[in-house]
Subunit: 355 residues, 2 copies
Amino acid sequence: MYYERENIKKMQGYVSGEQPEGRNTIKLNTNENPYPPAPDIQDVIANFSSESLRRYPPARADKFRELAASLHEVERSNIIATRGGDELLRLLITTFVNPGEAIGMTSPTYSLYPVLAQIQDCPSVMIPLNDDWSLPSNFTQQINEANCKLTFLVNPHAPSGKLVDTDTLTTIASELNSVLLIDEAYVDFVDADYDSMPLVRDNDNVIILRTLSKGYSLAGLRFGYGIGPEELIKPMMDKTRDSYNLDLIGQQIAETAISNRDYAMKNCHRVAGERNKLSESFLELGLTSEESQTNFLLVTVPVEFTFTAKQLYEELKAKGILVRYFADEKVADKLRISIGLPQENKKLVDTIKSL
Amino acid sequence: MYYERENIKKMQGYVSGEQPEGRNTIKLNTNENPYPPAPDIQDVIANFSSESLRRYPPARADKFRELAASLHEVERSNIIATRGGDELLRLLITTFVNPGEAIGMTSPTYSLYPVLAQIQDCPSVMIPLNDDWSLPSNFTQQINEANCKLTFLVNPHAPSGKLVDTDTLTTIASELNSVLLIDEAYVDFVDADYDSMPLVRDNDNVIILRTLSKGYSLAGLRFGYGIGPEELIKPMMDKTRDSYNLDLIGQQIAETAISNRDYAMKNCHRVAGERNKLSESFLELGLTSEESQTNFLLVTVPVEFTFTAKQLYEELKAKGILVRYFADEKVADKLRISIGLPQENKKLVDTIKSL
């Protein structure tokens, strides 16, 4: 015990959503995509020879990087492939933030950010969002005054689902003195007009995070990537990344997924449609939700409702429906509910009605 | 560029062995196993449903951990499953060594260790081995005097192949003031009497690293694990590890591999036999090699030989045979040659003869 570093001893680890063993649970708690990944992926797996695992995999995942570069109209040198988005977040801290230097983020935000900051022994500067989940007008000023070296912005925002528009992002990027990571884990579900790629081209401090977990229905694969200027991508590629960070079968599946982007986007579009429908059904039940551009809804359980948010979470769980409840004060009266298949969403609404 | 940390800017990244695209190269440069992984793995892949990738994988790889615990007769809490051995090495540094604190190792050793130390901004204390590759008698004293918080010992040693016996390890573990990582990447090829498990049971500072890359013919999978006291394993499991560090298909393949240990060990035994034979063939060519307990030989090219080590590396490469040459002074007259299939080893010997 006495070997552990002080900052590690003091910190709490990240707590991920429940993953029930059984198949009968309706699982709306970890923002997984309800639709399967592209059918070509099954073919890739079926044709995969286990003997090819004998050798080390391509160390830099160049084939995937080429495909991603082509999709986003950048160069391969602007892409880094990572084990889920998580690895990219960790690499950004390792590469650009010395222990003791501050990392900026909003409050609330993706709860992994402050955990990763603590591992590097970095303080998290958490700027509270306005009541409507928008960024305070002096956001960049506060981040700069705290001397942050890196700023994490999840967009669309978790857990609210709100999208920051590209004009606002452009201003933030140009004003910030730090590297800006725009975490677009949920971007594939955006149905508003949004394109952040010009930000990468026009700034030397912007990296965009993408993941195959949500939009491509591949949470089990652990595959993501970053898009950014070569000056920021290169040290992570050449120095701080674990050598051979991506296995062979994972690389082949990821290549196939991104080559079948249209298939995935069709499913994302269906999810977005269901999201807007579900939001209306909730309203009929007396539950308001934030306008979301993601595959989840942050639902407020008003005081006049039969149950508190926590009670509703527990009642649903008892009926085999898992949603996410956060104890955090700002969202203690809310539930984060992932969008499921139409029949799952209907079951959810019917179940709440019946309680 | 100006965003990079000073220690990252200054350092060189790890350079992995060449991975030629073509299939015709005889690849004896990265210590891959020449035999395929267990046939059951092909079945697991064939029966894997891509739809199951839609969900997050088991976050803690508990099924694999149970199997490894059972194999080594320890508890699940004594096992951490990682993305290759590399992730375990990184986690040990992140968890137990503050930036600026020293990390002990031998010189030479696995060249990744000092790279990982630099990423954490830690000095590497490199204790030169004796000329016969044995540890100097005051090894632990030197490590302790340098206040190392963590010591990396690869055993059997790379690049010499030499095994440190368990009595010596026992003394080292009890004398060291730091965490001791025994990197057993090559242990499956040991044909001497060797069992380091009592070290984990009897000391609070010893962690053993195992990998499926070499012994189980799964370098392309990126799967390894650590065995150690719960007090050392737990903070890596709960705090510093990337959440969901292992993908679903990888976990299933690893479970199958370790369940088919006998199959893998039979191949390792064959490799060890070939190693001993190859060593004799080299001797007939005038090339001496260190006594190895691994799946490679460190071969000395004597001054009276037709070529220098570097020339021989290049001559072989021109003939489609890749071996490893290190520029490092201590091994500049040597080549590290992985053991291939019998016909590959024969081709290597015949080619050297013909030069």
